[in-house]
């Protein structure tokens, strides 16, 4: 389980590095830090969602498509793990 959490976190950080348009900041960002405050625009957040769906081969249901679900690395991981367990 913990290995999965680590792998998931790593994959999420990779997606963010590629698509969140935050520059180098994303590598050092705390798990709970707000990605939006760090500079992720709502436009970039859609790219992040698409890339996450592709990376983890899942689809976020509409109920998850809200700001708080993509607020931080930890929040995204919770959402991904929830969908993987379902």
């Amino acid at each position: 389980m913990s290995a999965n959490v680590d792998d998931t976190t790593l994959a999420i950080r990779n997606v963010l590095r590629e698509h969140a348009r935050l520059g180098d900041a994303v590598a050092t960002l705390e798990e709970d830090a707000s990605l939006y405050d760090a500079g992720m625009t709502s436009h970039a957040s859609v790219d992040v969602m698409l890339a996450l769906e592709s990376e983890f081969d899942l689809e976020f249901p509409d109920r998850m498509l809200r700001r708080e679900v993509f607020e931080s690395v930890a929040a995204i991981r919770d959402a991904v793990l929830e969908l993987q367990e379902a």
């Binding site: 939006y36 405050d37 249901p61 509409d62 109920r63 498509l65």
Partner: protein, 385 residues
């Protein structure tokens, strides 16, 4: 003054003092001071403030209906009132628990203060969720300089609500909402306001230089204020203003068609068919506004306001603006065709020139092109159609 008084007084203010000056306000591109003064005297500045906080406690639906009634007579007056309510609602929904803001809201109602919006900014993005300007510490206070592309009735306002980056180091999206109050800011106009329509809103750009006390920086982030209040309230109240212009246009068309019918009883005039189509569009416009207003008010009375920050709500809310802004132009243009040359004349009883010029602003204020592109992007992940 109570809500009942205001709601009862409004139709007479609209068809009286507001209507009386509408043509001159439009011609001279001047602030509709007579109408706004009458509305101030009737309590309109505090209409959106809850009654236990010194206001009249009108619901969003009631405020929208009043904007529509005003817009039937003067779209500029209606838009000024709508913009003021949006600023007030931002403070009520996100900062009323801050004691100084609560005191300030009492003064808005009591001193009939008019609040303008400084959300636009000269800069690369044109997106209000990305700021260039930022708060700079100055002792206990802050200073900020913001170059705004448009500030409606900025020179006539008492106070200005705007957003800036939290600090000089903050990212463009890390914004706070800030209230600048009269006496602690200057707004130097940038350019003029000689426009096709909405001339009475007097909305040139401006350079805002303000000194800000700590309480004037709202605790809630601008992201939340924008998503939960400013964007939905703008789309709903602007739509109500456009609905008012469209309603008056349809009413004028209907008067003309009825007169034609009376001249030749027994025959349904051809224009009556066009009027039938037009009435359908007006009904559609009214219904989409009502539906989103109810959905918004329902979410606001529920425990979890974060539903307002879902892609689903954002899509529906954006679609409201797209639909009503396009319908308004369509309806007024159709009405012009039905009425004919007398609607085209500026000096006739059924002139629709000002209506048409005014509603042409609807697809431009926050350009529909931009909103479509935002929706297109959201639809890449949103599943339910």
């Amino acid at each position: 003054m109570t809500k009942t008084h205001l709601l009862a007084a409004l139709p007479d203010i609209a068809s009286g003092v507001v209507a009386a000056h509408a043509a001159q306000v439009d011609r001279d591109a001047r602030f509709p001071v007579e109408g706004i003064d009458a509305l101030k005297a009737a309590g309109m500045m505090g209409a959106a403030i809850p009654s236990d906080a010194g206001g009249l406690g009108c619901s969003l639906e009631e405020l929208g209906k009043m904007c529509a009634v005003l817009a039937r007579n003067c779209a500029s007056t209606a838009m000024i009132v709508a913009m003021h309510h949006i600023q007030v609602a931002s403070l009520v929904n996100h900062a009323i628990s801050q004691p100084e803001v609560r005191d300030y809201l009492l003064r808005v109602a009591g001193e009939r203060r008019l609040i303008a919006s400084g959300t636009s900014e000269v800069g690369p993005s044109g997106d209000m969720r990305q700021s260039v300007c930022f708060l700079e510490s100055m002792g206990q206070d802050f200073t900020v300089t913001k170059k705004c592309t448009t500030v409606s009735y900025g020179q006539m306002a008492d106070d200005i609500l705007f957003q800036a980056r939290r600090t000089g180091e903050a990212s463009a999206g890390d914004q706070v909402a800030i209230l600048a109050t009269r006496g602690s800011y200057v707004l130097d106009p940038l350019g003029g306001w000689d426009t096709l329509g909405m001339r009475g809103t007097c909305s040139p750009g401006g350079v805002l230089k303000a000194r800000i006390a700590p309480w004037q920086v709202l605790d809630a982030s601008f992201a939340t204020v924008a998503a939960q209040t400013q964007v939905p309230w703008s789309h709903i109240l602007w739509s109500c203003c456009w609905l008012g212009s469209a309603t008056d246009a349809v009413e004028k068309a209907s008067t003309v068609v009825r007169a034609k019918a009376r001249a030749r009883p027994g025959q349904v005039p051809h224009a009556a068919l066009d009027l039938s189509r037009l009435t359908g569009k007006l009904l559609l416009m009214r219904s989409v506004i009502q539906a989103l207003t109810r959905e918004y008010e329902m979410i606001m009375t529920s425990a979890d306001h974060a539903d307002l920050e879902s892609l689903g709500f954002a899509l529906r809310d954006n679609n409201l603006k797209l639909n009503t802004s396009e319908l308004a132009v369509e309806i007024v243009s159709d009405a012009l065709r039905i009425v004919g040359i007398s609607a085209y004349k500026n000096d006739s009883e059924v002139s629709l020139g000002r209506h048409l010029r005014d509603v042409y602003s609807a697809p431009l204020m926050i350009s529909n092109q931009r909103i479509h592109s935002t929706n297109a992007s959201m639809l890449l992940v949103h599943k339910t159609v």
